[in-house]
């Protein structure tokens, strides 16, 4: 094999799509390391602080697609203080210096500035794909730079970002020569866009397959756009209020009928029940439906639509669908694989829109269900046991009972047995979020059965350090562990420190770990960054406590991750790296 010319070895490597296999071949011998690093086209960095951006670019100068993730997942629940970090700037700057062939950049939970977007737009002549998920720190001016300068742009996909609105100008910045768009998603942009510019942009984008509009786009505009996009596969509507012109109604229904390739639908902002029947002709061909931004539709409107979607595989919906609505889903959508039920903003005490009944119905009607996110106000062990047997193929199971420590609604017992059944039956489970009243026993089950578990989220659960120890000792494939408000302390933290080398990160907030415990961890495991964060008042308090007691003070927030980069130099003053 060593007599193969390098281009042959490189060609063989091109048939290894997984990062893991590419990492493996880089270790075989020095020549393979060189060939691999110079030919790697896609680089995935799961934690932006695990490696220096300059080093990534030095090792992989020919990278075309870079993915970087920043803040820990609990940032989504506002548990990570603002200004914690996760800055995109150093990554874009390093890439601009070291790999100008970059074509694709995907970032999640990072802080991106307009200056960085400007640099991005000007530095990479072949840039094609920008995906920003749950990012912040930029405005529509940054988007204007991207639109203006990325002449080959194919995808601009903005999901759930917090973007400062500086007016509609950005969309008009796509030059007339830009005809390459395949995917445009600006659903999270809060402000208006110029409908004429939007219509013209769509008209000159014959390859457009995915288009997600924001709330400001009217039915009238939508109707004009859809006439131009018969090959659209994924559509996020604008607002669907009942204020529109009658010609728009006809145009819309005609256009929708021609969209034979449309498989996925979202948006439905401010949807009026009057508008929903427009969608009916499409329902039979839909595989994905996201109604989670539509509190204006009630269970009856929702079920009238969903009952027509026999091919549905993915459904995101608000809990106003109710248990009865979920029963309709169960009897209509036999191919359902992914379900997310989100909480509506209002909660009337004692009234639960969805309960264990709805979920049991789903499990019995949809045996292919493999991915679940379910917000509710009550659950029972019996229900979970039934669900576990009906659906043994869960890969992701996230149950969020909104009231902390809520017991079984029938028996008042902890929900240990129910979750135990889930991990026992779904042998391929990779992601789990648990909630409700839970003792150390549930962790014993998780450690014993969840052998493929990669990510575990714990809130208000467990009795003692033993709980966390079960997980640390049993879940050999664990990558991310995030815990809040649970009674785990230094013993658990230090119980199996070797694990932290094989895990991407550990988050613990409002638990019982102390400063001393964290210091011991940091000294035993020098390859970890042990970040502690106390509330701004708390940090000065820690400085002032000079006595022995200071070491026993509890750490409010702890974030531990392995890194090749050492302590980061951009930490704010409320973050202490031990």
């Amino acid at each position: 094999m060593t007599y193969f010319p390098e281009e042959v070895v490189e060609h063989i490597f091109s048939f290894l799509p997984s990062h893991s296999d590419r990492n493996t071949v880089s270790l075989v011998c020095k020549v393979w390391y060189q060939i691999e690093r110079l030919s790697r086209r896609a680089v995935f960095v799961g934690n932006c602080y695990a490696v220096r951006p300059e080093h990534v670019v030095l090792r992989f100068p020919n990278v075309r697609a870079l993915t970087v993730k920043g803040k820990p997942h609990f940032a989504d629940f506002n548990l990570v203080p603002p200004d914690w970090g996760g800055y995109a700037g150093p990554w874009i700057e390093a890439a601009a210096r070291g790999c100008v062939g970059l074509e694709e950049l995907r970032m999640k939970r990072m802080v991106v500035s307009d200056e960085s977007l400007e640099l991005l737009a000007r530095s990479f002549p072949r840039f094609k794909v920008l995906v920003l998920i749950s990012c912040e720190g930029f405005s529509t001016d940054g988007l204007a730079a991207i639109a203006s300068h990325c002449k080959l742009l194919r995808e601009l996909d903005l999901q759930e970002n917090d973007v400062e609105d500086r007016g509609p100008r950005w969309l008009s910045c796509f030059p007339d020569s830009c005809t390459s768009l395949v995917s445009l998603n600006f659903a999270c942009i809060k402000g208006e866009v110029n409908s004429g510019s939007l219509e013209r942009l769509v008209a000159r984008s014959p390859n457009l397959r995915s288009l997600r509009l924001n709330r400001s786009v009217s039915v009238d505009t939508l109707s004009k756009i859809l006439v131009r996009t018969p090959n659209l596969q994924d559509l996020g509507t604008g607002n669907l209020t009942d204020e529109f012109q009658i010609e728009s109604y006809f145009r819309l229904t005609n256009a929708l009928e021609k969209c034979k390739m449309l498989r996925s639908l979202s948006g439905f902002w401010d949807a009026s029940p009057v508008c929903v029947p427009f969608i009916y002709p499409l329902c039979h061909q839909l595989t994905g439906l996201n109604l989670s931004y539509t509190p204006t539709l009630d269970a009856s409107d929702l079920t009238k639509m969903i009952s027509r979607c026999a091919k549905l595989q993915r459904l995101w919906v608000l809990d106003c669908i109710s248990d009865k609505g979920l029963q309709v889903v169960a009897s209509s959508c036999k191919d359902l694989q992914e379900l997310r039920v989100f909480p509506s903003d209002f909660y009337v005490a004692g009234y639960s829109a969805v309960t264990e009944t709805g979920l049991v119905a789903i499990s019995s009607g949809c045996p292919k269900l493999s991915s679940l996110l379910y917000f509710c106000h009550q659950m029972t062990n019996d229900a979970l046991i039934t669900i576990s047997k009906n659906c043994p193929n869960f890969i992701r199971f996230r149950l969020c009972i909104l009231e902390p420590k809520k017991p079984d609604a029938m028996t008042n017992q902890p929900l240990d047995e129910g979750f135990g059944a889930i991990v026992r039956e779904s042998k391929g489970l990779r992601r789990l979020s648990i909630s409700g009243l839970l003792t150390d026993k549930v962790f014993m089950y998780i450690g014993k059965y969840a052998k493929h578990l990669e990510m575990l989220s714990i809130a208000f659960a467990g009795d003692s350090d033993k709980g966390m120890m079960h997980v640390m000792n049993g879940c050999k494939n664990l990558r991310k562990l995030e815990i809040r408000d649970s009674p785990f302390g230094d013993v658990a933290l230090l119980g199996n420190v070797a694990n932290y080398e094989t895990m991407r990160s550990l988050w613990m907030s409002s638990c019982n770990v102390t400063l001393k415990g964290c210091q011991v961890l940091a000294s035993k495991m020098p390859m970890l960054n042990v970040e502690i964060m106390n509330e701004l008042d708390g940090s000065s308090e820690m400085e002032e406590n000079h006595g022995d007691l200071s070491n026993l003070s509890k750490v409010e927030k702890l974030y531990v991750y392995r890194t090749t980069a050492g302590a980061r130099d951009d930490a704010p003053n409320f973050v202490k790296i031990l």
């Binding site: 060609h11 063989i12 290894l16 493996t24 071949v25 695990a50 390859m527």
Partner: protein, 181 residues
């Protein structure tokens, strides 16, 4: 000895041009020009008029050359058949197209199921002769032998010496695991 440009007589009377290819151990193979032209290297030689008297390939032995030419002949016939089916208004022909694709796929699968040494020789020959389909097929097969294995297992399979020091290897392994997975 047949040479390039001479027309043989096909059974239907249509002219079919054949080419002679000569292996490194002096065995001669007569094949359709269309099949031989699946090798870019050979195609260029034909176009440059160097094919008279046969094309010598000093780097490819008879055994391997026979296999490469078998691949090319099978694939060139498949291309001809599918273009016939495409231009034919016969519904049966059109319906048979996916089946023929399946035939080709199972031919490829069986074809590349060979001993490791033969696989390497095929790979080198496909690279030298620039037969893209065969090169991809052979590379995919080798890649399949790599997938999911540890570095040590790969070294054993391909008889490669580990020239990293333990410290170097550890450093790369850590970086791979901590940063890039």
């Amino acid at each position: 000895m047949a040479s390039a440009g001479e027309s043989g007589d096909g059974a239907d009377g249509k002219g079919v041009t054949t080419i002679t290819i000569i292996s490194s151990d002096n065995e001669a193979f007569e094949v359709l020009e269309a099949a031989a032209s699946m090798s870019l290297t050979i195609r260029h030689l034909i176009e440059d008029g160097c094919a008279d008297g046969g094309i010598p390939l000093p780097n490819v032995t008879a055994g391997i050359l026979a296999k490469v030419l078998e691949y090319c002949s099978k694939h060139v016939a498949a291309v001809a058949a599918s273009s016939e089916a495409g231009s034919s208004s016969n519904a049966a022909d059109a319906a048979a197209a996916p089946e023929k694709e399946e035939d080709l796929a199972s031919f490829d699968k069986a074809f590349i199921d060979v001993e490791q040494d033969t696989l390497y020789d095929l790979l080198m020959a496909a690279n030298y002769l620039e037969v893209k389909g065969l090169l991809d097929l052979a590379c995919q097969k080798v890649a399949d032998m790599i997938k999911g294995k540890t570095p040590d297992a790969i070294r054993q399979t391909f008889k490669i010496k580990n020239d990293f020091s333990p410290e170097q290897e550890e450093k790369i392994r850590e970086e791979n695991q901590w940063a890039f997975e």
